[in-house]
């Protein structure tokens, strides 16, 4: 069945595909870190008893979660430079460039999802722990940093990583702003050499192997953690 296949094309494309994979991994990692940091802040805002904090965070999360990711990427690439030009009145104001605008779009988009995960994680820590921290005289900030968040993140690690795996796949959408990630690299080679089947099969295989082993790792982590509990 593979008689008509040209496996050589894959081998020749490997260095280029490798670069694409590095881009994909880098973007995933940066957006994940940014998303978790920002998501934690949003989660703390949403849990605040001050409406001035919780309402904007809630609005933000609901807006981003009801918007397709591809639209957010477009916004940041095409609309933000336009808005900057309008606001500053400088017709030559440059955009951020595709990489930075994509990174910001992914970070902001992921932050909305991480916010909800982290909010649930914080709420999973029993209220008595908050009382105990406060009773010692710890401030809100100290209680969060030393008592609540460490426990919350420990509970959340599997689901945070799972969200990261989804993000890893979603980064393939950067092709819409002309960036070349792993998927983009595969696609370009496929079209240049007219080897669509080989390249797309290869890309699928690599995505599958990486995501499957990552979810396996998450499962292992979860099992290990549950034993220790």
């Amino acid at each position: 069945m593979f008689s008509g296949f040209d496996f050589d094309v894959i081998q020749r494309a490997l260095p280029y595909m490798g670069q694409g994979m590095l881009f994909t991994l880098g973007l995933t990692l940066l957006a994940m870190i940014g998303g978790i940091v920002l998501g934690t802040l949003f989660a703390l805002m949403r849990l605040s008893s001050f409406t001035a904090l919780s309402a904007p965070a809630g609005g933000y999360v609901n807006l981003l979660r009801s918007t397709p990711l591809i639209l957010v990427i477009f916004w940041f690439y095409f609309l933000v430079p336009l808005a900057v030009k309008k606001l500053t009145g400088d017709p030559y104001a440059a955009g951020l460039g595709p990489f930075h605008s994509a990174l910001i779009a992914f970070t902001l988009f992921e932050a909305a999802y991480y916010c909800e995960i982290i909010r649930a994680g914080i709420q999973s820590v029993p209220r008595g722990q908050v009382f105990a921290a406060y009773a010692l005289g710890l401030t809100y900030r100290q209680s969060m940093m030393k008592v609540i968040l460490p426990q919350a993140f420990r509970n959340m690690i599997p689901i945070l990583l799972t969200q990261g795996i989804i993000l890893f796949q979603d980064t393939s959408l950067v092709y819409v702003v002309g960036l070349t990630d792993f998927m983009g690299a595969a696609s370009k080679v496929a079209q240049r050499d007219g080897r669509l089947v080989e390249m797309y099969l290869f890309a699928a295989l690599i995505y599958f192997l990486m995501c499957y082993s990552a979810s396996y790792f998450v499962k292992w982590l979860q099992a290990r953690y549950n034993v220790g509990r």
Binding site: P126, G128, Q129, F131, A132, A133, Y134, A135, L136, G137, L138, T139, Q142, K146, V147, P150, Q151, R154, R229
Partner: protein, 242 residues
């Protein structure tokens, strides 16, 4: 030391505390008892501001707990509190549980704090358990660690919120022994508990609550000898009759 004046608290339209007034003098041990849902735990949490209240005033060492300009963390650091479910921090070793407040709130050095913590662990009979995690200890041991954690802050008073209610019967005494010793040393204590034996041995005064009200606030001898209110008589007859 602790003055509770006419406080009232509502959850929505439901009033959980109604005009509660009582006091704990320096060196005094006051036991708060009453049927479950009577507001005892809520009342004791008002003393260090863990539960906000809408009416009245609580003064601790002359400082108003409810006043908006009160430095609550600072005030709380001077009042020890022990909870029904221990509430040790499960992700920290026993020794780090006791060090945390000393280092973060009182600004002691880690060495200083550890020295103090080890002394307190020895006092509650758990010196060898310092490097363990709370999950590796029995309930009674965890509660003794929690008492050590509260004492490490050199509190001017201690609040106990049903400290033995979550314990297996055979572990209750090891916790009560530590508390009895504390009382003998002259610690100011407010204790919510159903342990009437402890109350009759250790308390100076007993406060009886029902339906969010303080029904009776009497010297121990008077309370156990002849409670005035009918509800207190009923409660005592139920709790002592076995």
């Amino acid at each position: 030391m602790i003055e509770i004046r006419n406080i009232g608290k509502w959850y929505g339209s439901f009033q959980v505390l109604k005009n509660c007034t009582t006091r704990v003098a320096s060196g005094e041990v006051v036991v708060v008892c009453g049927p479950s849902g009577s507001g005892k735990s809520t009342l004791i949490k008002c003393v260090n501001g863990l539960e906000p209240f809408q009416q009245g005033e609580v003064m601790v060492d002359g400082i108003s707990v409810g006043a908006p300009d009160t430095d609550l963390p600072r005030l709380r650091s001077r009042i020890g509190m022990v909870f029904q479910n221990f509430e040790l921090f499960p992700h920290m070793k026993v020794i780090d549980n006791i060090n945390l407040g000393q280092v973060k709130v009182l600004g002691r050095s880690r060495d200083e704090a550890t020295e103090k913590s080890m002394k307190l662990l020895e006092r509650v009979g758990l010196k060898d358990h310092a490097p363990k995690y709370p999950g590796q200890l029995s309930g009674g041991q965890q509660q003794r660690v929690a008492i050590a954690r509260a004492l490490a802050m050199d509190p001017i008073a201690m609040l106990f919120d049903e400290p033995t209610s979550a314990l297996d019967p055979e572990m209750i005494n090891e916790v009560l022994d530590v508390m009895t010793e504390l009382a003998k040393e002259g610690m100011t204590m407010m204790v919510v508990t159903h342990e009437m034996g402890f109350a009759s041995r250790v308390a100076h005064r007993v406060v009886f609550m029902d339906h969010g009200e303080i029904e009776e606030d009497a010297k121990k001898e008077d309370f156990f000898g002849k409670p005035r209110s009918e509800r207190a008589q009923h409660f005592l007859s139920k709790i002592l009759h076995h």
